[in-house]
Assembly symmetry: C2
Homo-oligomer: 668 residues x 2
């Protein structure tokens, strides 16, 4: 999948000495030979279009130019998507996932059309009546109209009950009247909302018959389909520049007496009748499935972004030579420095941990959702707790990883053309969106506190918290510290269980001392967050171990994946060594042995590092990095990228004559 | 120092209940009432100039427009600087420091003129002969010419012996001939080099009489002073967009047989005579003083940037309300959440730790440099070791702090108008420039390994490593775990000493097993980095304790600063709890007691958090944040900032008619 320029000799050597076949890893990650071919064909279909080349690299453009260029490219892409669908006739979900991922890679710093696919369509499917679906679904799938999802407000984020936008029902006209009563009630953040979308699902507080009815969803047309002018009463614009995702066209939206027909409230569950009577949903939780699904999907997204960052940093580290290890010898590849391996390989391993766990969680999610359709709700709380803490732990870990990769590339990692700053921008955004991480961890902590009470009470436990039972008895399970995989998994669970117990104990103590439960919760929240994190880490470690145990691949590949598993588990343990010294039988000597083992693993992985990232099989146009392309021609690419700077098109910039020369010539 | 818009009522309340006088803190930080007045006057002198207002916020501009606008503003600023100097007649260093800091705040995302002050002038003073100084010094001080410092190359960073640029002396013409023999030898990164500067100090490998003479510095004219055209043989341009500092105009520079006069080699120490004879400097170390000084200055720079980030996050957290703590009650200020306090207050404390340590290190630096002038070199290695590990530890800590502040502001922290992304961009750059952090930590580790041998050998120790002696005997000094300040300082030293011992032990063991010393060093480098970090942390903690002990302020202020000291030391200890459980007598119970103490400190600091950041006395135009201004009118400012987006000037962007409508209308 490489480009055709000659391969850097260091990378060539790395590839020659790799002990496994990277293509086997590629096929394994894609899920089969056919899937690999399908993905590559789709990539080729899109990436071979010359209209998708940037005339000038996007980073040099103004904010407005970036938007316009993004819309141009997005229209090329989505037209090709329409063509493609025309050819196949129907929509294949797994194929759509590949396509979405390719589109996101092409529209690197965000896609103003994407919320139409990611939120609008799923929400219509999940929340609209069949009659409503008939009105809107096909039009959004066809991209005849383009929608977004407007929930967050200027003054209100993760806590959706605090939203201020109102929808009052008027039975005389059979319309809802939407209003933004305050500045803080303006919708703020929805992707594509600024200048792109013409429809939105709007989340608002419903009032009918003078009674408050809670949060509901409304389909609102924002702009005239022919002229794109905002409709009367719609105040709309974009919110400005951001750390990353600058092509998403995040927008704001205010309502001034905007009238919409009664049929535009999404009524699959709750309903408002013509006279304003309100029929409450039999189960409110059904409305929140969509958010859980998006949260679960984030694991896969950030695992892929982290894998890209690792690919860039590892290839660059194989090409870059610096300092001297032994006097008189040539400068070594920086990948030979133990400190560089220690920075990069654990996060390379983490990208697999996130990938395996993400896949497992998605399976659970699919199961639970199909149970929901049958009215079974039992597993929903567990899924919710899992999705909250895993989203938080995985995005944090991926963000740290991407930033570590960037810093490991020195000054060149600071350049936009390395693509590392953008990858970090994309990942770190996920620490905040779809539920701010700390808030999510506290939601999982609430579940863990309930689970702890169940464990203490000897009640039946859901599978992912069953390990808490051990800690109730006060016994520590198997006190083995030989460092086996099984022993490490149980140590992670023991740490999580003891932290849960500790939090429950001090909270209980505070309540006994007369503190209100709410204040006790807040006072204990630092520990509660930490116990949810420990729970998340225990699951990640367990899932990595389980995934490697189930592998059906060659011995050569399995050996490498087992090394990555061991590195991930041991590295994570050592980084949290305080917990293990506090809550397990681990001794300082065990710690030193694990440190040795970890360093051996770094050596063992060294010869295969380039092979592993080659196995990710990222197309050069998707990696989009001067430092990370397949051929490793780092310096030529850096120079070529700089040459494209508009500032370099003239030998003298006009600011010299206008400003600089007069300043230099002005006397003291 | 606030703006004149009405103050947000929550902030008003915070200010009313503050238990100390923020102005006292301001005066203390400035170093006296007069200094505060002087600083405020200088700020007013610059900031009141209407020519410094941005017609359009810089973030919306293209890369080229940003450069041109920056040069415009920089010329306004530096003309004012010339005016100011005209008024005073002479240059006052402390006043210049204030001015530099104000200028950096005005030219937020980098100043293309600054290397003239930061590197060019000091290098001329430090490395040029009196005759050379007469040629260039006054012209650079007067900004008649404008210079940069060209050391780093495309393929060569921290390891300066690896530089490839050559300077061959030709005695027939008495000139040096500069060349860039490879692509990787192109100078890459110097600030202002792209389109701004017309002179540079160039670092190159010297050859005379056919013999290699090592690295030397050369004054090179790059551009014609009248036309600004690059001189013959000079290949010059800018390197492109970056994560931050996009207005610095970082450039590249190649030489093709560029001839410069013999007098243009800086010859204060080493010399080349007319016939090409080379006279070596009696002490090569004298040439490196400048880099140490810049490294030391970074502590102050990042401490100030971190203080800005804390100011923004804490004011915003006092204004932002979210979720509910108790059913039915209004949404609380997010600053009341313990988890928010836990994110922000330790870094608020860290900004003081960095400030106190930076001041102490600068004093040592000044002392050592004046000893150097007298030919005394004894303290140079200790200063070098200190500057390396403290630069690394402080920049890493400040970067984590700024990013934690950003994330603690949720989605709004992701917006450029919060100024948090830029602050992070400025700080994280310092993790790489002036010596990459890992490389620097390994330099300190080398010093610590030597110091350890001295301690084992019972030799005299330099003051900052004297604590290693304790660990030699194997005794642990005072095994007190009552959590007193003195006990904690000695525990930090004990951890560092034990880590030094551990690294020395395993390295020795490896060498005994037949590994070469160089390989053993590399194999042990993860531990070596960690022992240098532990040493740096021990110094930060000790300096904070010492600074608070010496305070001459009111009881009210001292109480607050002592709380910050305790929070910093305990938080840092808890974050590294594994080390303390491994290497000191700290027990799990001690850990829990310290955790309680930390939480109490968070409560105690809560009422004064806004007062403390008010005490930093950042002018609103210097904070430059929609979230962090004095009045706390967060939402109005966010909305006003968005309204300035060029995309919001038209109701319909032209891309709708050009691209979007045709795509929407194209059939499936």
């Amino acid at each position: 999948m490489g480009s055709r320029t000659p391969e850097n000799s260091d990378l060539k050597k790395e590839r020659r000495t790799c002990t496994f076949n990277p293509l086997e890893l590629t096929v394994f990650l894609d899920g089969g030979r056919k899937k690999t071919k399908e993905r590559r064909d789709i990539e080729k279909y899109f990436l071979s279009d010359p209209e998708l080349n940037d005339p000038v690299p996007m980073d040099f453009l103004s904010h407005k130019e970036k938007y316009e260029e993004t819309v141009r490219k997005a229209c090329v892409v989505y037209k090709k998507l329409k063509e493609m669908r025309k050819g196949t006739g129907s929509i294949d979900i797994s194929r759509e996932n590949i396509i979405t991922s390719v589109i996101h890679s092409i529209l690197k710093d965000g896609d103003p059309f994407s919320l139409n696919n990611v939120m609008m369509i799923p929400v219509i499917i999940g929340q609209a009546t069949p009659r409503q679906q008939a009105m809107w679904l096909q039009r959004t799938i066809n991209y005849e109209i383009i929608g977004t999802y407007a929930q967050t407000e200027l003054g209100h984020g993760t806590f959706i009950r605090g939203l201020e936008t109102t929808a009052h029902y008027d039975p005389t006209t059979q319309e809802f009247i939407l209003n933004s009563p305050t500045l803080t009630s303006y919708k703020w953040w929805p992707g594509g909302l600024g200048q792109t979308t013409n429809y939105a699902i709007v989340v608002a507080q419903l009032y009918t018959q003078g009674v408050y009815r809670g949060i509901h969803l409304f389909m609102v047309q924002l702009r005239n389909e022919e002229t794109h002018e905002p409709l009367p009463g719609i105040k709309i614009g974009e919110i400005g520049t951001k750390l990353g995702m600058n092509n998403v066209n995040n927008g704001f939206l205010g309502f001034e007496n905007v009238h919409i027909p009664r049929e535009h409230m999404l009524m699959k569950y709750s309903k408002v009748l013509e006279d304003g009577s309100y029929i409450k949903s039999t189960n409110e939780k059904l409305a929140y499935g969509g958010m859980t699904f998006v949260r679960v999907s984030i694991l896969k997204v950030v695992s892929t972004l982290l894998a890209k960052a690792c690919t860039i940093a590892i290839r660059y580290s194989a090409v870059r030579r610096q300092s001297e290890m032994k006097p008189g010898e040539p400068e070594p590849q920086i990948l030979d420095y133990r400190t560089q391996q220690y920075k990069l390989f654990p996060y390379l391993a983490a990208s697999f941990a996130l990938k395996f766990t993400g896949k497992w969680l998605l399976n659970i999610c699919t199961e639970v959702f199909s149970e929901l359709e049958e009215g079974k709700l039992e597993r929903l709380p567990e899924l919710h707790a899992l999705s909250c803490c895993l989203k938080a732990v995985c995005t944090t870990e991926a963000a740290q990883g991407a930033e570590t990769c960037r810093l490991a590339c020195g000054g060149h990692g600071y350049m936009m053309c390395s693509n590392l700053p953008s990858l970090y921008g994309l990942i770190t955004a996920a620490c905040t969106y779809e539920g701010e991480n700390t808030v999510l961890l506290l939601q999982t902590a609430r579940y863990l506190m309930k689970a702890w009470q169940q464990a203490v009470g000897g009640m039946a436990m859901t599978p992912t918290v069953a390990y808490l039972k051990q800690a109730v008895s006060g016994s520590n399970g198997t006190p083995c510290w030989e460092g086996s995989t099984a022993c490490i998994v149980s140590a992670f669970q023991q740490v999580a269980a003891r932290k849960v117990k500790h939090s429950a104990d001090i909270m209980g103590q505070r309540i006994q001392e007369g503190v209100s439960p709410e204040d006790a919760w807040n006072m204990t929240s630092v520990e509660l967050v930490q116990c949810a994190e420990a729970h998340g880490r225990a699951i990640l470690v367990e899932r990595f171990v389980a995934a490697v145990a189930e592998l059906n691949v060659s011995v050569a590949l399995k050996t490498v994946l087992a090394q990555l598993r061991d590195l991930y588990t041991i590295y994570t343990l050592l980084r949290n060594s305080g917990d293990f010294l506090m809550y397990t039988e681990m001794t300082p000597l065990d710690y030193c042995n694990l440190q040795n083992r970890m360093e051996t693993l770094l050596s063992e992985l060294r010869p295969n590092a380039v092979g592993i990232v080659d196995g990710f099989d990222f197309h050069d146009d998707i990696i989009a990095s001067t430092l990370g392309s397949w051929d490793g021609q780092v310096y030529d690419r850096l120079f070529a990228a700089a040459s494209k700077s508009p500032l370099n098109q003239d030998t003298v910039n006009e600011s010299f004559h206008k400003y600089l020369k007069p300043m230099l010539k002005s006397g003291l």
